[in-house]
Amino acid sequence: MSRAVRLEGLAVDYGRTSRRAAVPVLDRTDLEFPAGSFTALLGPSGCGKSTLLGAVAGFVRPAAGRVAVGGTQVCGPGPDRGMVFQQYALFPWRTARGNVEFALKRFGLPRTERRRRALAALAEVGLADGVERYPAQLSGGMQQRVALARALAAEPDVLLLDEPFGALDALTRTRMQELLRRLWQRTGTTVLFVTHDIDEALALAERVVVLGGTPGRVLGDHAVPEGPADPALRARIAGHLGTG
């Protein structure tokens, strides 16, 4: 299943203390991500992309407005919204299989079934061989494959990815992008993909939302047509990025 995500006047502040006023990080934002859509959130580092994603995930409390997933207000993290982080996200004391089984535990399956599903999920991301290895024994690309398999194993309605391929080399990154597209097409999950790389955004998403400024706000919202790359669209988006 997949569900729509709505940001309704969402604003986030950081650092409110008894002595210091809060610093606005994300300006009042209204956005709607339809069920099953694939959107890239593009913007320079520090513009509040992770903050926005954190608000959807339920890690960050809004200062104003709200996030709704499938019409229900978000008030904390939950397995309906899966998250893939840039790094440090796998549990280093669990093997690849153990990490995926962690996500499957919430279904209360018998042990053998849980194991079978974990192995299938790892095979799907192309990691049939490394299942008993610990994250530290896997390359960065393989770790992100496990992270994808783990996030999807919990069967989320929405998949949130925060610059997940930022630390990977170009070739591995292209392969991971193809894998992610494939997984999205199969599961139909609503995807919000954060990146600061304009070409990655264009290669992956159906829609690119450009964020920028301090505090962060929406600078542009572009549909990406199927088919060959469109230099004019790229130039328009680059123009919006520059206005931040």
Partner: protein, 278 residues
């Protein structure tokens, strides 16, 4: 001001060990570690023997290794060693268990809850530098010279040590791990047993090892404050009679006890603690 507790020294030792493990094992690890240790022990024994033979010390003040061994055999044969060892182990063990449980629980709580930490840390930072031995008169005044005072003193010293290490380890658990667990639908009890506990396990092990050494220190302080039996009590008695051979034997037993406890804890750690094999 003790704004923040000092970073645990043991953490660095653990990293050192992890580094060593990463290196390819050339001909096995155990002989590599045991060889130098045996050689050093032999050198110390030889130097000791030579010093005792040289007559540099006044008569009766420096027993030879053989005389020390004889004194050890003597106390083992008469049963005083077993009595003292039993009394000391019971005190240190019970005090350690109580202090480790309470200190560990406190460390998890303050490491996980920043607000609680802000409240408790200043208090603990004030108490920590006060040596356990300085509390012996107070413990005696409050609880008498019985076993309760000794156990509580040891427990108190262990509690502070274990709290510091566990707090430090738990507060360093990456927030991403806990967030990932919540996003994967793990309820609080699973986040504790399956994320916080394994992530903090190396710190927990370091805490227990350090706590055990603190328990021995506090044991000696407590027994010197008045006891009817025990390894440190015996040292005091032997001191009054200038039985240096027996004192040497007692000190060696204390040292071996510390090493044995640490080996046991380290062995348990190897079984249960995951170290990153990056």
């Amino acid at each position: 001001m003790h704004a923040s507790p000092p970073s645990p020294p043991e953490g660095r030792a653990l990293q050192g060990r992890a580094l060593r493990r990463r290196m390819p094992a050339g001909g096995g690890r155990a002989p590599g570690r045991l060889g130098p240790a045996v050689a050093a022990a032999a050198a110390v024994l030889a130097a000791w023997q030579l010093l005792a033979l040289s007559g540099a010390a006044a008569p009766g003040l420096l027993p030879s290794p053989a005389q020390t061994l004889a004194a050890l055999a003597d106390s083992a044969g008469s049963g005083t060693l077993a009595t003292d060892l039993g009394a000391s182990l019971a005190r240190a063990g019970q005090g350690f268990a109580l202090g480790a449980v309470v200190g560990g629980a406190l460390g998890f709580a303050t490491g996980y809850l920043p607000l609680l930490s802000a409240a408790v840390t200043p208090v603990v930072s004030f108490l920590r530098p006060i040596p356990a031995i300085a509390l012996v008169p107070l413990a005696t005044a409050w609880f008498g010279i019985g076993e309760t005072a000794k156990r509580l003193l040891i427990a108190y010293a262990v509690l502070l040590a274990v709290w510091l290490y566990v707090h430090d380890g738990v507060s360093r658990v990456p927030v991403t791990h806990l967030r990932a667990a919540r996003s994967l639908g793990a309820p609080l009890h699973r986040r504790f047993t399956e994320v916080l506990l394994p992530a903090a396990a190396p710190a927990l092990l370091a805490a227990l090892r350090y706590g055990a050494s603190v328990a021995l220190l506090a044991l000696v302080a407590a027994e010197l404050g008045g006891a009817q039996s025990g390894l440190a009590y015996r040292l005091q008695v032997d001191g009054q009679f200038l039985r240096v051979d027996r004192m040497f034997a007692g000190l060696i037993v204390l040292g071996l006890l510390g090493v044995a406890v640490d080996l046991v804890l380290a062995g348990i750690g190897r079984r249960f603690v995951h170290r990153e094999a990056s």
